[in-house]
């Protein structure tokens, strides 16, 4: 049996995925990127290999993606996260045509063709509005974990109005809402609404095509997913571990490269 690995070195987290010849996920890992991309990639691969119950030698080919992809000497190939998210998402959900990926440092909307190829895409501009970083800053301000945010958002009956999508300005809005004793759940729902509205602009720029999936760390936030579904008027497909979609796509590219070579 041959194994292939994809490593996604992102702004906040690094993921590694191992797939077998049949494309089945054998194991994966998610760690914090920290200060060194090369070490993070190495550690993520170690953990994924362990989870798969194989040795590193059993991995025939590795592809790297994400912002730190150039700092992965282990990888025989580098691919942008845009192509990886498209391929990974199409593999998981063959009927999708649109991918909404909200990562730590950027968010993107990708229109995917039949073969998992990118047809069109758009990304957020230079600021952190509408990215995982936005939620991370707010979570720390409100002293809740990122994981809790989604649940708390769903518990809110009404929502606070957050007018700014700028991370810095929104933070000061949160400060004044806290000062007015606005319930935490309502603030969080307001924040989820802000990020959803921001990304919605990009969804409209690319246009909705076929079924829709969400990937990236923010897809774990059920509050954001629910608000996005409300906008779309239909359910969104979310993999139980949406953070690994990019790494899965990279692993599929590694497999493809291996087939081409051998």
């Amino acid at each position: 049996m041959n194994y292939f690995s994809g490593i996604d070195v992102g702004a906040i987290s690094t993921e590694a995925v191992i797939i077998d010849t049949g494309g089945e996920i054998s194991g994966y890992s998610i760690i914090e990127t920290g200060a060194n991309s090369t070490e993070a990639a190495d550690e993520a691969l170690d953990k994924a290999v362990l989870a798969a119950g194989i040795s590193r030698d059993a991995v025939s080919s590795i592809a790297a993606t994400g912002y730190g992809r150039a700092s992965v000497p282990l990888a025989g190939k580098t691919v942008t996260e845009i192509s990886c998210h498209a391929l990974g998402a199409k593999y998981l959900f063959p009927d999708i045509g649109t991918v909404i990926d909200i990562g730590g440092q950027d968010s993107k909307v990708i229109r995917v063709g039949d073969s998992g190829k990118v047809v069109d895409f758009t990304m957020n501009d230079k600021c952190a509005a509408g990215t995982g970083r936005f939620l991370e800053v707010m979570a720390s301000k409100l002293r809740v974990s990122l994981e809790e945010m989604g649940e708390l958002s769903l518990q809110a009956e009404t929502e606070a109005h957050i007018s700014s999508v700028c991370t810095v300005f929104a933070e000061s809005e949160v400060v004044s809402l806290v000062a007015k004793n606005c319930p935490k759940e309502e603030i969080i729902k307001g924040l989820c609404r802000a990020i959803t509205n921001r990304v919605w602009g990009m969804v409209q720029a690319v246009g909705i095509c076929g079924e829709v999936t969400m990937s990236g760390g923010v897809a774990k936030n059920r509050g954001v997913v629910a608000l996005m579904e409300e906008k779309l008027g239909k359910p969104i497909r979310v993999h139980p571990e949406p953070q690994i979609v990019g790494a899965l796509g990279a692993a599929l590219f590694a497999q493809r490269q291996f087939r081409e070579v051998t």
Partner: protein, 426 residues
């Protein structure tokens, strides 16, 4: 040739000069012989500015203004936008912009305007010294910013400003619009006579309109040579060779230059010499150049066998000039200047882009969303979506600025461009 007053331009196209190590560019074909010619022409033009002050009236002019009307009065014309591009290419944009910002001008203001105002306060420029103007001549056919930018200059220098107001074209240009613009041109004449202390000569004016038309048509032919496979030049070459049609329009030197360039390009086409050695993909560029990234981009794309063969920007000085008519100089100028791409509706721009994509056999489109240039950048996402759907080609938007590199993030631009390359290469 000695470096005589336009050091920036010298460096910009001064590849292969003695004493300066030449960077190898294996992916690019031989450089154009006319690069040297252009260098000499523009250096002479900038050098002349040293002697113009006091000897002849000096006008600062916007790139879209009907400069032909100034020429019979013997104005030396200087183009702040052309200077802004030079400053950008010399990577001096942030420094000059910061000078304007220190005086209260906002970072969201066009970087050409900030560079110009920054120059006013600091005197900094890569071209030695700029000639002090006696007159400011602007047209809002390219943007509204120029109106306020030139008003600021007029206030600082206490000199007259003449504005040519062009109604925006939403669909069809009306007779009322034309007569409104003709009246403005006619009203300028006594003012220009007063400032230049020269009489208006109608016959000379007609000749100048003829020369401008001829030069623009030749520029159009120059661009058309890029329809050949492989294309004899890249759009980055065209962006540099744009200087004469912008700033020397109506003068015989501009026409001579384009005749020489056209001959060289035709020769290259006849011999199958391409600007990119292994041209596999042909691209279109939208919006003004990112001046401080010209060289990097030229190599980046050439290394992948990609060549930019057309751009709405370079095309702008060839697009409406067919309307110019020596027999009806005022009416035809009104039409030619008010129908330029930035004063025309988005539907027009969509059809223009589609035509260029077809005629130049374009495989992919790179859209520069320029923080400075709002009229050029608005609507780009709609154009992108429509072109992706209708022309079935990959497109990408990169966010940057024409001259202020602080508004450009290399990492973010590269991710977008690499994803575009992956889509294009399949």
């Amino acid at each position: 040739m000695r470096d005589v007053g336009a050091p920036a331009l010298m460096r910009l196209s001064g590849m292969g000069k003695k004493g300066r190590p030449r960077k190898k560019k294996p992916a690019l074909g031989p450089p154009l012989i006319c690069n040297g010619r252009l260098r000499e022409l523009m250096a002479t033009h900038y050098l002349l500015s040293r002697y113009a002050q006091g000897a002849m009236p000096v006008a600062w002019v916007t790139s879209g203004a009907p400069v032909e009307i100034l020429r019979p009065f013997g104005f030396y014309t200087f183009y702040p936008e052309n200077h802004g591009a030079l400053v950008g290419a010399q990577k001096m944009g942030p420094e000059l912009c910061a000078e304007a910002e220190e005086h209260g001008y906002h970072q969201d203001l066009c970087s050409y305007a900030r560079i110009d105002i920054g120059h006013y306060f600091s005197g900094k420029t890569p071209v030695g010294r700029l000639p002090k103007p006696d007159l400011l001549f602007a047209s809002n056919n390219i943007c509204q910013t120029v109106v306020y930018w030139y008003k600021v200059l007029a206030e600082y220098w206490k000199i007259p400003l003449i504005l040519f107001d062009t109604p925006y074209n939403f669909g069809e240009i009306s007779e009322t619009d034309i007569s409104y613009m003709v009246r403005q041109l006619e009203e300028m004449i006594p003012l220009l006579e007063q400032i230049s202390k020269r009489r208006f000569r109608y016959k000379r004016f007609k000749e100048i309109v003829g020369l401008a038309k001829e030069a623009s048509l030749t520029w159009g032919e120059v661009l058309s040579t890029m329809k050949a496979r492989p294309s004899p030049m890249t759009i980055f070459d065209a962006f540099i060779h744009l200087a004469p049609i912008v700033s020397l329009r109506g003068l015989p030197a501009a026409l001579e230059h384009y005749r020489a360039l056209l001959a060289e390009l035709k020769d290259r086409v006849a011999h199958g010499i391409g600007a990119v050695k292994d041209e596999r993909w042909r691209l279109m560029w939208d919006n003004i150049a990112i001046w401080y990234k010209m060289r990097d981009f030229s190599n980046l794309f050439a290394e992948r066998g990609m060549n930019f063969v057309t751009a709405t920007y370079a095309n702008a000085w060839a697009e409406t000039i067919e309307y110019l008519d020596e027999a009806k100089p005022f009416e035809s100028m009104a039409k030619a200047y008010s129908l330029v791409i930035l004063n025309n509706n988005l539907n027009h721009r969509l059809h223009l882009m589609e035509r260029l994509i077809r005629e130049f056999q374009v495989d992919g489109l790179v859209i520069h969303s320029a923080r400075s240039c709002k009229p050029y950048s608005v609507g780009q996402y709609d154009l992108k979506r429509l072109i992706t759907e209708r022309m079935q080609i990959p497109t990408v938007v990169i966010e940057a600025d024409i001259a202020d590199s602080r508004a450009y993030s290399e990492e973010q631009a590269m991710v977008r461009l690499e994803a575009f390359f992956e889509t294009l290469e399949g």
